[in-house]
């Protein structure tokens, strides 16, 4: 219902808001949130409320960690609580009376470092572990990360769904191990008497307020870490894996390494949070880390928005606070309502005990009706207006190509040499003893009927499909056994027949992922944002825009649009731009003009020609023979996996065998 009393024009608040620059708006928002969070305990003053808020912060930290694994890298982890448990027990054991080995001289250096103390008992002196909470925060994170790598390494090579079940099992066995090893963990009874943190001689004790501030600092640090990783080479690589693993590998992302990194960092977040949580509760039992905890954290990120940093924090806080503050009140209201309208069962509803049922419904309903969550990770950009679409913002054309786009030109001689290459899929021979040579700085076209093995040839050369027999040499080195990302690093880039862009990333991000192998920023650099990393990132962004500008006004005005929203022809162009961003020596184009109209085909053929003029070697699959005749120096014809002809375009066009392959065997005799 819109009120008529307000006389100001509609949307005036939005107007005022819009006049503030976006960056300042974001800063203002952060300042307000921080101030409110800092003042909360002073304003509220109720210890139970502050305690709930501190717990909610712990879960926000967990949600941030799981978001790196599930949201950024797209790996569904159902046993995330296991890493929480590992971090919790690490601190629990390192600062309680659980382990009391006999004192010996070995412990003296540790005593000197204040990690242990010598304690006198009737049966002789024993060691008392008293590792500082502040030291254990990073140490527990490292231990959890170690276990993340340990469990990730064998399983992350598998298809994504298996990971879900393996992590589910992992989440199941960690509490079992904790229960079955009472000598270390005190079994089902749980660890007791875990030391509270101390800071400059002040003991945190059981008062909620100091824990609240530690939790707040932890969450703030993890938000910063998440944001910085997300907007970096690391985050882009993760999101590329999430969107399309094969394309990510073909663009130079080492899948196993980056999945492990996501797993390790996600686990590290949980490890540090576990230490915080146990220090706060001063006890740890196996029941605290069972499957429901993993599900709860998953519900939080699904609710807040998978992949959205602020979303998952809000999701975690809302659900936790709902649980501890409002469900009780809500139940009371329902009871009152039940008495009012005289409905018996309404008077007995206990929402607090049905919280897990509510979680289940949140998961299903969010997936069905709002998969992007409360605060979506990607913001929709308005489509271009007709004016914007037709404005000529620059002539474009590949003659503007920056000199850096094509790396280390090879003067002459064969760049790619394939010999005796055979590939089988079960009983089908996709390629049989294929010989092929691509001289540097030429355009070679591969033609042949559908199913003749053209795309398989590309897949083998780029490492997507393993070579059965034979050798593939590139720029003098054998690449037949390399993995896709290593082949890209050598300088072979490709496009795919059925276009494999990263649909939920922007055009600019797609192109920047192409530069992955040519950039250096690692996780530490991404987090610290040293001047060198900032320079590299800015240069990469600039270079990506230059590459987009090669296509005139086709792509540049759409740089911030999602790849999924592009037209078919623009998706093909983006894929070529992404391949060019890898600074290739050899470019493999799989039917680049498929689905384009004659004018667009001509435009692209022209662009491919100018790329070649700038020294790029091109291997091309194409069905449009006029395009082939225009571009190619040599043509290779495949049929049923065998090379049946090779030569200049005119010669191949007249070849009897080729005509027979294309037009059919019987008609050739007519």
């Amino acid at each position: 219902m819109r009120s008529n009393i307000v006389t100001l024009p509609r949307g005036w608040t939005a107007d005022v808001f819009a006049r503030v620059p976006a960056r300042a708006r974001a800063h203002l928002g952060i300042v307000c949130v921080t101030a409110a969070a800092l003042l909360f305990p002073l304003v509220n003053g109720n210890d139970a409320d502050i305690d709930s808020a501190a717990n909610a912060l712990a879960f926000a930290a967990l949600a941030l960690g799981l978001n790196i694994v599930v949201g950024f890298a797209g790996l569904l982890d159902l046993g995330y609580a296991a890493f929480f448990a590992i971090g919790a027990y690490a601190y629990g054991v390192a600062s309680s009376w659980q382990l009391q080995p006999q004192w010996s001289n070995v412990w003296e250096p540790f005593q000197w470092l204040d990690l242990v103390s010598r304690f006198h008992t009737a049966g002789g002196d024993v060691v008392h572990f008293q590792v500082s909470f502040w030291l254990m925060l990073p140490v527990a994170a490292a231990i959890a990360a170690f276990f993340g790598v340990l469990f990730g390494a064998p399983t992350l090579r598998l298809k994504g769904d298996y990971l879900a079940i393996v992590t589910l099992g992992f989440g199941e066995i960690v509490p079992i191990v904790a229960r079955n090893t009472p000598s270390v963990t005190n079994g089902a009874m749980g660890l007791n008497g875990v030391a509270a943190p101390r800071l400059f001689g002040y003991d945190f004790g059981v008062d909620a307020t100091p824990y609240y501030y530690v939790g707040l600092a932890l969450v703030a640090f993890l938000i910063l870490t998440s944001q910085r990783l997300k907007d970096s080479r690391i985050g882009r690589a993760w999101m590329a894996i999430r969107e399309d693993e094969i394309a990510a590998a073909a663009m130079g992302v080492d899948r196993v390494r980056f999945k492990l990194l996501a797993f390790a960092i996600g686990a590290a977040f949980a490890g540090a949070t576990g230490t915080f949580y146990v220090a706060k509760l001063q006890t740890a039992t196996p029941e605290m880390f069972m499957f429901p905890v993993s599900v709860m954290v998953l519900v939080m990120i699904v609710f807040g928005g998978i992949g959205s940093v602020w979303g998952v924090v809000v999701g975690a806080l809302v659900l936790q606070i709902l649980q501890s503050w409002f469900l009780e009140d809500l139940s009371q209201w329902l009871h009152a309502l039940g008495r009012l309208v005289n409905i018996e069962w309404l008077q007995h509803v206990e929402l607090a005990s049905s919280i897990e049922l509510i979680f289940g419904f949140i998961l299903v309903l969010m997936m069905l009706y709002r998969r992007e969550g409360l605060i979506p990770a990607t913001r929709r950009v308005a489509p271009l207006s007709l004016d914007e679409q037709t404005t000529q913002i620059g002539r474009g054309g590949f003659d503007l190509l920056p000199a850096t786009a094509i790396s280390n030109r090879v003067a002459t001689g064969p760049l790619l040499e394939v010999s005796d290459l055979t590939v089988r899929f079960g009983g089908l021979v996709a390629l049989r003893s294929v010989e092929l040579s691509v001289p540097a700085q030429t355009v070679v076209a591969v033609i042949g009927p559908n199913g003749s093995g053209k795309s398989t040839l590309f897949n083998v050369v780029t490492g997507v499909v393993p070579a059965g027999r034979g050798s593939i040499r590139f720029a003098g080195g054998e690449i037949g056994r390399l993995r896709p990302h290593a082949i890209l690093e050598r300088g072979i880039a490709r496009t795919f027949q059925n276009i494999r862009l990263f649909p939920n990333l922007t055009v600019l991000e797609n192109v920047m992922i192409g530069m992955h192998a040519r950039l250096d920023t690692g996780p530490v650099g991404a987090l610290l944002r040293l001047p060198a990393n900032r320079r590299e990132e800015a240069a990469a962004r600039e270079h990506a825009r230059e590459i987009l500008a090669l296509f005139g006004n086709r792509l540049l005005p759409r740089a911030d649009h999602l790849a999924a929203s592009l037209s078919y022809a623009n998706r093909r162009r983006t894929e070529i731009a992404r391949a060019l961003a890898t600074q290739p020596k050899l470019l493999l184009l799989d039917e680049p003009t498929a689905g384009m109209n004659p004018a667009e085909t001509l435009e692209l053929a022209d662009q491919i020609q100018s790329l070649n003029r700038h020294g790029l070697t091109i291997l091309l699959i194409e069905h449009k023979l006029d395009v082939v005749a225009m571009l190619a120096d040599r043509v290779i014809v495949l049929d049923h996996g065998e090379k049946i002809a090779e030569g200049p375009p005119e010669a191949v066009r007249r070849d009897e065998e080729v005509i027979r392959a294309y037009l059919g065997r019987s008609t050739a005799f007519a």
């Binding site: 159902l78 879900a164 393996v166 589910l168 099992g169 499957f291 599900v295 049905s354 289940g360 069905l368």
Partner: protein, 309 residues
């Protein structure tokens, strides 16, 4: 009893558990074969069905283990209980597919899997909130009949379990390999798009897979109740994880694989429990899951992975 006798007895027990896991594993494999989806709801379809079976037997006036039937009365009670449980489970499975998974058909990524986790959690909590957290004494009309074969004791309930499991698996085998719908199912599993173009009603195939898979889980659930004489809201979790391991061990997507995998997991559970320690059973089975996935990801009977890129 000699050590050898103890082990042999554990083999007999393992075959019974294995028959149950095999039935449950078939549900995972049927759905995975067609949708490439790990259906976490299956865990608790099994658990809920065990209550269907309990209520069906209680409807006949059977409570606890005191009231024992014989002859036609026993046969009738069992047929009724299996029919109610399997149909109830099948309808539950179809309802889950229609309400929560069909709208997500064609959505990429983890959305469908997360939905099945949500559904599983809903089922779990509905039983927890309505029936309660305690374990229920399962009605069991089977007379305790034992045969002593050398050092091994064989019970009537074990023969019954083996008989039911073999009959259901033969029926499934016949259905998949000899009927029109079964052929459509195999075609859809190979290539859903091509099957659709050849006129196969893919939605109907998917519904059938959910119905059959869930009905088999229903049979497994009733067997669970009759074997252990109890059920509870929590039984779906462990049994489901073991059955899933069985499906992977056999090669997920493969029907004979699920049967063989189930038997193997049953044997590993009882022999492992005997030779190592029962409290480590889950760790042993989980380790097998990881080892199989790492070294033979296609399992014993797995399909060659498709070459689509």
């Amino acid at each position: 009893m000699s050590d050898y006798g103890v082990l042999l007895q554990q083999v007999v027990n393992g075959l019974s558990l294995g028959a149950m896991y095999a039935l449950l594993a078939l549900g995972f494999t049927l759905v995975y074969g067609i949708l490439e989806l790990i259906n976490f709801a299956h865990f608790n379809v099994f658990m809920v069905s065990s209550f269907f079976g309990m209520w069906a037997l209680e409807f006949l006036g059977i409570t606890g283990q005191s009231r024992v039937l014989a002859g036609p009365a026993l046969a009738g009670a069992l047929v009724f209980a299996f029919a109610v449980t399997m149909i109830g489970a099948g309808i539950l499975g179809v309802a889950i597919e229609r309400l929560s998974l069909r709208p997500l058909r064609g959505v990429r990524g983890t959305a469908a899997m997360i939905t099945t986790i949500g559904v599983s959690y809903i089922l779990f909590n509905i039983i927890l909130l309505t029936v309660g957290a305690g374990s229920e004494n399962y009605p069991n009309p089977l007379p305790v009949v034992r045969w002593q074969l050398g050092e091994v004791t064989l019970e009537l309930k074990e023969l019954l379990i083996w008989g039911v499991a073999v009959a259901l698996m033969l029926a499934l085998h016949f259905f998949v390999n000899r009927t029109r719908l079964g052929k459509a199912m195999r075609a859809t599993a190979q290539d859903a798009e091509a099957a659709r173009m050849m006129g196969v009603d893919v939605d109907r195939v998917i519904v059938t897979a959910f119905f059959l898979g869930s009905a088999l889980a229903g049979a497994a659930a009733l067997i669970f109740g009759l074997y252990y004489n109890y059920t509870s809201f929590i039984v779906g979790y462990t049994a489901g994880l073991r059955a899933f391991t069985a499906a992977v061990l056999g090669g997920i997507g493969s029907i004979p694989g699920a049967m063989v995998g189930g038997i193997l997991i049953g044997l590993i559970e009882t022999l492992g429990g005997q030779l190592i320690a029962v409290r480590w059973t889950d760790v042993i089975i989980f380790s097998i899951l990881v080892l199989v996935l790492v070294f033979v990801p296609t399992g014993l009977f797995g399909r060659v992975t498709s070459t689509k890129s």
